[in-house]
Symmetry: C2
Subunit: 397 residues, 2 copies
């Protein structure tokens, strides 16, 4: 009898993995994934970068680096983040092996078994699995069109004892809900958490992928607002703006939290891949990123608008959704009590996949929503696939 | 007041980080690192591999991959491991973000706070930090020239209650002790652990770097012996045979342990870097590895023999060591009670660094040993640096 650690019993296989293998099966139209389309990666830039590397840089790419990241990348990334108004100098920056690793490290830093943590419902499945891995108890706050339901957050803060260890949230182009937090909601969150010893984990991996320049000001991060009396742990990623295969993200956190995080990272993988860091540094330093983001923003906007158009045209009246203004996802609200797993089964028979609502429910129950991504399918495929999804919904509702 | 998780209080900053920054300082001769010399990386092969990549392979390199690894690499690595006699088909193979991540995942899978785990003294600092991260209690077994002191292991097994969660050991070219386990000691370990529900974690990252072909048969892994009645979790790495900057390792474990490990890895970084995996696959598949290992074995042997020669020539009589027959390290035994930290201070003043003994002591106390690496310094530098170390030892002893 293998004697596993008790916290491990909490980890359950999610549907996600099976979906992912379906999602890459030939002849299947996939609205399931949260990854950039393969055809969107900047391969010419990658070639240019590789060819520009000196012998010394290639050696650096093959060698261990410091736990917190290669100095060159820390420098170019600092500039990139400072330009977004983030208080880099007042905090410590750490390169992580994907932003998920950053969230996992913060989970390990803060959570003792049974500790309550505040999460949105719906919430990012990766963060939920990191929190589950440390036996967190989820205290859920429902999302509205402009962010967390502040009244509910207030109630949960008043009634949850012991106090929650942190609040985790996704400010911009939420995964899965697709929404942007309003400035008002962010201000109210700050008001409620001030001097409460409840840090915020702000997970912002999509904000560069806006459709409308005019949205940028209201997408300001709480980390950038730099509120007094709250420790804000901000995490970001190269996965959506360069390529997830590099496995590179970052976190920007106050010094005293950074110290713990560095020790934890040392025990997990010693350092993030140097080869990826050398490439990401050039991508920022030579400003390849500006042109690339301009191109991809245009393409994702085209896809997002095609998605909205197709959904409006084909969905039955009983299904509603917030129109995405960036990011990767639309989040469909089905009639109350609908089981989106039944819809998924029908859809798979017809050759289309998406992700069911309960996947993103911290309690794993609420299933009358579904996430339909537009990041990984071109306009034509969207126009072909959405009517099929609409048909599957009609057959079930 | 930030409220950290209780297990985090156990994590302490090691000297390693400071040493590492010293180790890369100009004008310092470093015998401290456990990394290949920068000049040894196969950069021409890396170029060849990059230039051979198709557009599709580059897309793969930029995209998420399955949690357990890219299918191509799993295939080529399986062949590589099967050729070493490892029972790949009877187990499950998983690509990890360095072998340290594999060990960290196993630590998380097995350890509840306070659980005893069997470790060697001295032991690999990275593994110790992963076990500390889950609040393990170390039950130490001293090393002799041919492996663990079996009598001591027997005693610890009889007296440790609750039973240890696993035994962790490094079979070949031990870090830091430099030794190879004898077949006899491995057979006795198997005898003692059979049907005890105490898995073995077998951490084998140096065995390809032997000086003498004749040693290969006796270096057979316990995993390859495939003993009945013991779960053997074998971990390996591309760090010493290709480049640590790729952050790629692997673990080969029984199916029921694999399942837990996959879920844990999902919550840590979702998958290992695809870009590194695409490169490592070509490195194995095109058999670049054979020639590269032939070259590096020769170079490390030259360095190792130069190290032995210099140590024999310059060390005072009171210092002894096992002559390395491969790997990266020599482990110097100082007169009992010597404080190698004092020697390190003297050595640093003279421009040379190494790692103190207590760094590798699970209890962080025993300091009358020191680790001197020969992997990262050429013959000339060894001949220049060792007399300085000998001088520092003389000044203290």
């Amino acid at each position: 009898m293998t004697r596993f650690a008790s916290s491990v019993s909490n980890l359950r296989s999610s549907e996600i993995r099976d979906l992912m293998s379906l999602a890459t099966a030939p002849n299947i139209i996939s609205f399931a994934g949260g990854m950039p389309g393969n055809e969107l990666f900047p391969l010419e830039t990658l070639d240019k970068i590789y060819h520009s590397l000196t012998e010394k840089e290639k050696q650096l790419a093959m060698q261990y680096g410091p736990t917190n990241g290669l100095p060159a990348l820390l420098e170019s990334l600092s500039e990139y983040l400072e330009a977004k108004g983030l208080p880099v100098k007042k905090n410590r920056l750490m390169i992580t092996t994907g932003s998920l690793q950053g969230i996992h490290i913060l989970a390990k830093a803060f959570i003792d078994p049974g500790d309550p943590v505040l999460v949105e419902t719906p919430s990012f499945i990766g963060a939920l699995s990191a929190f589950r891995a440390y036996d967190a108890q989820f205290v859920t706050v429902p999302l509205k069109g402009d962010g967390m339901d502040i009244q509910k957050l207030k109630e949960k803060l008043e009634t949850t004892r012991p106090k929650p260890k942190f609040l985790y949230y996704v400010p911009n182009f939420h995964n899965p809900a697709g929404i942007i937090y309003s400035e008002e909601v962010k201000r109210q969150i700050i008001e409620l958490l001030k001097d409460q010893d409840i840090p915020i984990i702000e997970d912002d991996v999509y904000s560069d992928l806006y459709f409308y320049e005019e949205d940028v000001p209201k997408m300001q991060l709480i980390k950038a607002m730099d509120p007094e009396g709250i420790d804000v742990c901000y995490s970001g990623s190269f996965s959506k703006i360069l390529g997830p295969g590099l496995r590179l993200g970052w976190m920007l956190v106050p010094e005293h939290i950074y110290k713990k995080c560095e020790l934890i990272k040392q025990s997990i993988d010693a350092c993030s891949p140097s080869i990826s860091q050398v490439i990401a540094d050039k991508f920022l330093r030579e400003d390849y990123i500006s042109d690339y983001l301009t191109t991809t923003r245009k393409e994702y906007k085209k896809r997002g608008l095609a998605m909205i158009e197709a959904l409006e045209k084909y969905l039955p009246e009983c299904v509603s959704f917030e129109k995405p203004r960036g990011g990767f996802y639309t989040w469909l609200k089905l009639p109350e009590g609908t089981d989106s797993t039944l819809i998924l089964k029908k859809a798979i028979e017809k050759g289309v996949v998406f992700v069911t609502g309960k996947t993103f429910d911290p309690d794993g129950v609420k299933n009358d929503y579904m996430r339909v991504s537009f990041c990984n399918t071109d306009v034509e495929t969207i126009q072909k696939g959405i009517p099929i999804i609409a048909e599957a919904i009609r057959e079930v509702c």
